[in-house]
């Protein structure tokens, strides 16, 4: 009070020092800023998840590579015989489907539990809830990236002729996956906090989606059965094509592939925001 002449200058800096808005500000800008401000927290939680996952296991991180690879070899032998496909061609197809679908499934199921598992944090500190779903997605993304190396190596050894300029577009799948999985996980997190049956129901839904999408089965199988719509109008197919077109066919992914993928991003984001508007504040009561 005695140094009133300085107070106006001091006050100018005050908003940076004290952060009252992060607690009460629910505007979208404040929300996103809250996520950014908590970045150290969710990044470290993600790394902690990964460490916990591989702690005290002999192969550790290599399990993320071994597991899908082993299953792929098994499946491609069986499916290759059934559909008379060349194993060397069919295996990377299955592998690409498997690791990408695994990412979607683990993000969806993990997302539906993410707020429930973070309850002790949510009850103690006010952070945007989306940081907890982001933590889940980030963990799964790192697993996905590790698993992808086996796909890259496989293709480079068996189909080196596919290597070309189109490959520079492959990394675009990473932000797309995050932008799809994050709102999805958040949305399911809101619902999962309210209805604890969600993970079970989700298992069923995801199994059904897997079944009607060209994840392990090639698009030509669907087309052969006259089920063009399950390929052409299926965002999962288009998302997979962003990886598959360059790596497996040596071609650029089409604008349609990107169009459908961004469409999915838009729909899921909109849903998450709409549900979040009322659910974000209520989640704490359901924990």
């Amino acid at each position: 009070m005695a140094i009133a002449s300085y107070s106006s200058g001091d006050r100018f800096h005050e908003p940076a020092k004290i952060k009252p808005s992060s607690a009460s500000d629910l505007s979208s800008f404040g929300y996103i800023r809250g996520i950014w401000e908590a970045r150290h927290f969710w990044m470290h939680l993600s790394l902690s998840d990964l460490r916990a996952k591989w702690r005290r296991s002999f192969f550790g991180i290599f399990w993320t590579i071994i597991q899908p690879l082993g299953l792929t070899i098994l499946l491609s032998i069986v499916f290759g015989k059934i559909f008379h496909s060349d194993i060397a061609d069919y295996a990377p197809f299955i592998l690409s489907g498997m690791i990408l679908w695994d990412f979607v499934v683990t993000s969806a199921v993990g997302g539906s539990l993410t707020f429930v598992q973070a309850d002790s944090y949510i009850k103690q500190c006010r952070h945007p809830l989306a940081i907890y779903s982001l933590r889940t997605v980030l963990t799964n993304l790192i697993v996905f990236l590790c698993a992808s190396t086996s796909l890259l190596v496989w293709v480079l050894i068996w189909r080196p002729q596919n290597f070309g300029w189109a490959w520079i577009a492959v990394p675009t799948v990473i932000p797309l996956l995050v932008l799809i999985a994050w709102p999805l996980a958040t949305l399911l997190g809101y619902v999962g906090a309210r209805f604890r049956d969600l993970p079970h129901a989700l298992g069923l839904v995801l199994q059904a989606l897997w079944f009607i999408s060209p994840i392990y089965l090639e698009p030509k199988v669907f087309r052969g059965g006259g089920l063009h719509l399950l390929v052409d109008a299926n965002p999962i197919y288009h998302l997979l094509q962003i990886v598959r077109a360059p790596l497996l066919q040596g071609e650029w992914a089409t604008w349609q592939n990107y169009g459908f993928s961004f469409g999915l991003v838009a729909v899921l984001t909109l849903l998450a925001v709409l549900v979040g508007r009322s659910a974000e504040k209520k989640v704490i009561y359901y924990l």
Partner: protein, 249 residues
């Protein structure tokens, strides 16, 4: 300026949160058209028209019977619970100590958890590295600090949580009956630390049933009764009022 300004604040616990917990019961209710036999469960009106102004430098004690709304009040001020009516303005960085033993990553070591909790409280990794040694020393867990949290006893978890949470300063300090965790030696140490933390904070709001600590730490009291503030005055008068309302003589 740090302050808490509440104007006619209402807070309801939505009954859906503890009524239908599964899709099955919701659907069953919708299909049969019957209310599931749960007795009469309504929204809980936990805070009723609470208006209070707390300015920088004030030390406020909350009194009230169990379920009177003290903890809800603290969590509402912390911004954890959304208010259903009125106006809530809290300026200043909030430091709250509730449910101390919660919020550990069980597979991570004590040292790692110090970092995570610090980050949860809004610290930077750099700052946490600086204070880590001090926290480890205060928690005094010996070699266990490098063991996973799941090997800790409940008391050890509280010690670690307390050591981290109180190492981080804030402008508005919200305490909910945290004093009294751990063994006798630790309690003395903890009380000294709480006092130091209180001295550094601009505003203290403490919920407690311990009149002695209320008297020594607070100068203003709020008496809660069934979700309402029924008395606001000096801490001595508040304690007397609390005893009178609850028939404690």
């Amino acid at each position: 300026m740090n302050r808490i300004s509440l104007n006619n604040v209402d807070l309801h616990y939505h009954s859906a949160a503890f009524r239908e917990r599964s899709l099955k019961s919701l659907l069953a209710g919708a299909v049969t058209g019957k209310k599931i036999r749960q007795g009469q469960i309504h929204h809980i009106h936990a805070l009723k028209g609470v208006s209070v102004e707390i300015k920088a430098g004030e030390r406020v004690g909350l009194l009230g019977h169990n379920g009177a709304g003290k903890s809800t009040f603290l969590k509402m001020v912390a911004g954890l619970y959304p208010i259903s009516g009125g106006e809530r303005i809290v300026e200043g960085r909030i430091r709250s100590l509730f449910d101390l033993s919660l919020g550990f990553e069980p597979d991570a070591s004590g040292r790692e958890n110090i970092l995570y909790r610090g980050l949860l409280l809004g610290m930077s990794p750099k700052k946490m590295r600086e204070i880590e040694d001090e926290v480890v020393r205060f928690a005094d867990l010996g070699e266990f600090i490098d063991y996973p949290i799941k090997t800790y006893s409940a008391g050890m978890q509280v010690r670690l949580a307390f050591a981290v949470s109180t190492a981080v300063e804030g402008d508005v300090l919200l305490l909910d009956e945290v004093i009294g965790a751990g063994d006798a030696a630790f309690i003395t140490k903890a009380q000294n630390r709480i006092r130091a933390l209180i001295e550094k904070s601009e505003i203290l709001v403490l919920a407690s049933h311990d009149f002695a600590s209320l008297k020594s730490m607070c100068d203003r009291g709020l008496v809660f009764h069934h979700g309402e503030i029924v008395f606001d005055g000096s801490i001595e008068a508040s304690i007397a009022q609390y005893k009178y309302i609850n028939g404690l003589g």
